[in-house]
């Protein structure tokens, strides 16, 4: 008995001694952000095409054109200061700002800019299509993109395109300016430094990349020589925390400063907490279902129609998606130029059943559904499985993490998939280009827009999209995009369901954080902690 008593006493003493540890708050110059970053597969701006990766490189690199936190809807010069357009409308000549330096200390020159753009074409990775649509190829890019002298460069497009469109494209991640000498110093086997740049940085932005541990952390360190002035937050640490509840819990405890993936349940539970503030940022993400046209039942128009009536849009938006998603059924988000806000579809199982019967599927059919296994996808997918089941479509959910699902999707190996799309630049062509354009539906196609991924043959719609990008009259142009959206809404492999608003919860001492409409108009350099 004595032994037992002694043992218990010792344990209790030890426990108390250690749990009296002072709880350390995050340091005043460090911002710890909880975000699901399991979608990052690379941090080379010529390759990044994922949301979290895009957000990271937006902090690390300056782009030719940019959106700034003061007005996230106004396109202004980034690395470029001013520009002139040639008479034939095909060449834009830029002057770059003086006094910009890379993290390495080298000055930013026009040669670096030209190199950065040429590199994207030569490497020809996923986001290259944003620049190849200018008619640039590996053979001609060195003539199309030229450094005229240390502070001037020009870009020439094959066709005459709307200037605003070209400038918008040059605000995307692929237009990040990389430090040519730094990148080439790490070149291996002629890869233009790609292997090295996947997990390192060579930019001129407000932060430099310290480390990326896949599915774990990204650490950024401030660049004191940033052209906007040294950021007040010296370190930004992204922590991958997969569950929103865990994010909320750690935010409450003060272990993290900001949580980016909270759902309405967590937001509701934090509402009484005086130390935490929730800000809502309208976003341009659209959530949709992709129906692979290679799959027999999905290639029938009545089936595609039926599916439109089998999603409980409002039910989900009013319950577990409340506050973070609203019903939206067109491919260009509302609140922007040329948006289309009609939402004709709602849950109607009887109508769907009738349509399925018409298509010859009165007994339904089996369908595999690729779902990302994080919130809110898991719940959206289960709800869809349930409503589809009411009409006889037997859905089998195939979970995977976002990389897996996206890889399958890009290889056209899915049947139905649920994902979201964020524009690469704030021009409707960014979404039209992917939802309504499919110039080459073959397996060897160079560009793989969403329409291609779903094997959708659309020669007329593609032509419409091509014409719209050349149209210089703003009203006529808007009407063309609205027509495209109507067509895609009526019948396409896309069932567009929601548009997101981001609800960011942060400790009230965090100020100055700005989150704009796209996944990469996010600014940490303006933030500070009181």
């Amino acid at each position: 008995m004595k032994a037992l008593a002694r043992l218990l006493a010792a344990t209790a003493v030890a426990a108390i001694a250690f749990t009296g540890a002072p709880r350390a708050d995050t340091p005043a110059d460090t911002l710890v952000v909880a975000k699901q970053i399991d979608d990052i597969i690379t941090l080379d701006p010529a390759e990044v095409f994922e949301f979290s990766g895009g957000e990271v490189i937006a902090q690390v690199y300056d782009r030719i054109m940019m959106y700034e936190p003061e007005d996230t809807e106004k396109l202004v010069g980034g690395v470029a200061e001013s520009w002139t357009v040639s008479d034939d409308g095909k060449t834009i000549t830029f002057k770059i700002r003086a006094g910009q330096t890379f993290h390495s200390g080298r000055p930013v020159t026009a040669h670096d800019v030209a190199f950065s753009l040429q590199r994207v074409i030569k490497l020809d990775l996923t986001p290259a299509f944003i620049l190849t649509q200018f008619g640039w190829t590996k053979d001609n890019v060195e003539t199309m993109v030229k450094a005229i002298d240390d502070s001037t460069f020009s870009v020439t497009t094959e066709n005459q395109l709307a200037t605003s469109f070209v400038l918008n494209c040059l605000s995307a991640g692929v237009a990040s300016v990389v430090d040519r000498e730094e990148v080439m110093a790490h070149e291996v086997n002629g890869d233009l430094g790609h292997e090295w740049l996947k997990s390192n940085s060579a930019g001129s932005g407000a932060y430099k990349l310290v480390v990326w541990k896949a599915n774990d952390t990204v650490v950024l360190e401030a660049n004191p020589n940033d052209r906007h002035g040294a950021p007040k937050i010296a370190r930004v640490i992204f922590r991958h925390i997969a569950e929103p509840a865990a994010q909320a819990l750690q935010l409450e405890k003060g272990d993290i400063d900001m949580a980016r993936n909270l759902g309405p349940d967590q937001i509701a539970s934090l509402s009484g907490n005086a130390d935490i503030g929730v800000t809502t940022y309208p976003k341009a993400d659209v959530y949709y279902l992709g129906l692979n046209q290679k799959v027999e039942p999905l290639s029938k128009p009545q089936v595609r129609q039926a599916i439109r009536w089998l999603v409980d849009y409002q039910g989900m938006a009013d319950s577990f998606l409340k506050g973070s998603y609203k019903v939206h059924q067109a491919f260009w988000p509302s609140g922007f130029y040329a948006a289309y806000t009609e939402t004709p579809f709602h849950l109607d199982v009887e109508k769907a059943k009738a349509l399925l019967a018409e298509a010859g599927y009165a007994d339904g059919f089996d369908l595999k559904f690729d779902c990302v296994n994080t919130w809110p996808q898991t719940d959206i997918c289960q709800n869809i499985q349930s409503t589809f089941g009411q009409a006889g479509i037997r859905v089998e959910i195939v979970p995977g993490d976002s990389k897996q699902v996206i890889t399958k999707y890009r290889a056209r190996n899915h049947e139905m998939v649920s994902l979201y799309w964020s524009p690469d630049y704030m021009d409707p062509h960014s979404n039209a280009d992917t939802f309504a354009r499919n110039p080459d539906n073959s397996d060897e196609a160079q560009s793989k827009p969403l329409a291609w991924r779903n094997s959708w043959e659309i020669p007329e719609l593609t032509k419409l999209a091509d014409d719209a990008v050349l149209e210089r009259d703003a009203d006529k142009r808007a009407a063309m995009y609205i027509e495209m959206q109507k067509k895609v809404q009526e019948d396409s492999p896309f069932v567009i369901m929601f548009q997101s608003t981001e609800q960011v919860a942060a400790r009230t001492n965090v100020k100055g954080f700005v989150s704009g409409p796209t996944f990469d108009t996010v600014f940490y350099r303006t933030a500070w902690k009181e």
Partner: protein, 297 residues
Amino acid sequence: MSARAWLLSDAPASRLQARLGRAYLSARALVANPLALAGLLIVVALVVVAALAPMLEVGDPFAQDLSQRLLPPSAEHWFGTDQLGRDILSRVVQGARLTLTIVVLVAVIVGPLGLLIGTVAGYFGGWIDAVLMRVTDIFLAFPRLILALAFVSALGPGIENAIIAISITLWPPYARIARAETMTVRNSDFIAAIQLQGASSARILWGHIMPLCVSSVIIRVTLDMAGVILIAAGLGFLGLGAQPPAPEWGAMVSAGRDFLLDQWWVATMPGLAIFIVSLGFNLLGDGLRDVLDPKHA
């Protein structure tokens, strides 16, 4: 003569009477032990609930009602509702079927498999024994959960693959037990007698040796079932077992993680189910061992 007296008679007239008498005594000893009795009741309850699940009026485990999300336990929903408005009690009940399926299938695979390998090895001896035992030892040395993980990740998630993965790593101890038992009786007189009568090896193994090993195997199976349930739940927790919307208990706990703070019942109820069933098998197994194998303390 009353049934009880017949069973307990000192001079049984037939083998059947002797066997039944022994079984009766064992059963009585088992029931006399309160913990074992509790275990037995839990296991029986599991079987009954699983078998009668469709008939029990507890609601539809798959019916979603988004307006009834995350309701706490109440008279209408005894275990509350989950994040899609499904009644948790009905899901736990339905999940009992899944659990029982896994347990039974694994038992049905590893028991006979281990028995076969062990008795063959023990009876024939020599190089057959050496080879089989080497293989058994190798499998015995593998980490169960990790290998199950690797198998399921290769074959794809799903309940069938989970069962296969668990079975592959679970059979070695049964082979060992069967072999040990076989070796103790291999050289005994009655076996020699049957051999002299000309019985084939297969008949000897099947008819005489295996029945002797059965009780040890049963004890071990029961004790292992708790572990099987935990591994299966673990795989489900990681998303590798039965896929949604199947109400597998481990997967339900995982889904409930997101609501742990304020809606603790979503994760706690299925977790309790796993715990109680596991406990039941452990208690029953311990009780069986005390009754059937009194050498063990």
